[in-house]
Symmetry: C2
Subunit: 243 residues, 2 copies
């Protein structure tokens, strides 16, 4: 398969779209593409297009010429997570992108270790995963905010799939089956930090009007595993063409 | 919570079980535990026990004294995977352990890059994940073998959940619902390498008597993501106390 690039610019037949330095390096140096080599491009809105790698002096472009695949919608589900260490956060951004999260919202909790989050790094990981797995759009990266601020900023109809470590909630499958009428609405998977939400944070989440608590089984999953298992499970249960 | 150690020896009240050098270093140097500090231990068969860290000269022991939790069974599902690069394999062993895989079988395929697999490293990752997530046993690590050899060595009743990238198969949920009568039997999640199985390998798998092909949605998941999504999905669909 030809290399696949995210270029967030409008596509028209024959347009020469400038590549970033990183893209140029990857194509010209790592992959050693020659001028005119075929590539694939997507901009998040107009599907996937055939294009050609074009070197003009020191600058590189993708010259687009034809749409090859339609834009594919993603389900209306996002991930609200407390960032862990750098490696796992990179991993989480990649995997959540592959599993079809529409947006990623890093949140600060009482037990979150990270004092800040590099949103651009989250985005870079999401772009890389989208490029490599054929996804047609890039998940939105929402700015790092407190748990409370982030939850209050959600659209009012959003269902909060709250992964509750206390095991008082029903298993994921039962929790989703009980809310089948809501499957077409927006959803947010909510996963706490290592060490879990505090009782106050858990109470805040449960008091939200559309909270759907669930548990993820007999083992205590690490935060990133819990996020991915819940996202995969939600996709599988609620979407006809799963995952 | 007290530190949790896997010590694969029989437990009896008052027994002093020797720690490995790695465990001793972790407890004495990293965590700076003092002689007599409480720890938790499990051996894969007798649940979880309270114990005390004991330093006797240069050697360290765990002195066990009481069972605190019963042994918990895992579902009869394993993972047959083509190893990818080192980092992702470590990750896969950890996550599959958290998600309850009973065994891990690395396999050689036509497009597998790895010429050999470090089974001890797989095991170390599985032990670490089991220790940290409260799992009561360690998944068995089966020796690296060709796809064909590994499949033929499965118990004859094993259902092969073949994650088929060709998208000719039904989605995971439909594939599992159609085999509900088989949920209590042994299962193996089968995931190919980056680049996929060859047509011959796919045909070999489909010709097995108990092959259950499925697809994992519209995006082409990376091999490790596919393995974890399928494992999480299988647990959620087929096990009452999901994941």
């Amino acid at each position: 398969m030809n290399p696949r690039l995210h270029i967030p610019l409008p596509f028209t037949d024959g347009a020469a779209l400038p590549l970033t330095e990183g893209q140029q390096h990857h194509l010209a140096v790592v992959l050693r593409l020659k001028d005119g080599a075929p590539v694939r491009v997507f901009n998040g809105q107009e599907g996937e297009w055939d294009a050609r790698f074009s070197l003009q002096g020191k600058k590189a472009f993708a010259v687009v010429h034809r749409q090859r695949m339609e834009q594919a919608p993603v389900a209306d589900v996002g991930l609200l997570f407390a960032p862990v260490k750098k490696g796992p956060v990179d991993f989480l951004a990649q995997k959540a992108t592959e599993l079809g999260a529409a947006w990623l919202q890093p949140v600060r909790t009482r037990r979150t270790i990270a004092a800040r989050v590099n949103e651009m790094r989250l985005l870079a990981n999401a772009v890389e995963a989208a490029e490599q797995t054929g996804r047609m759009d890039i998940p939105r990266i929402l700015p790092f905010a407190s748990l409370e601020t982030a939850v209050l900023a959600l659209r009012p109809s959003t269902r909060l799939l709250f992964c509750d470590e206390s095991r008082q909630a029903p298993p994921l499958k039962q929790a989703l089956l009980a809310r089948q009428a809501d499957w077409g609405l927006p959803w947010a998977v909510v996963v706490g930090p290592e060490g879990g939400f505090t009782p106050e944070e858990a109470a805040f989440l449960k008091d939200m009007p559309h909270c759907v608590p669930c548990h993820l089984g007999p083992r205590l999953l690490r935060a990133d595993t819990a996020a991915l298992a819940a996202l995969a499970g939600w996709q599988m249960m609620t979407q006809a063409d799963a995952l």
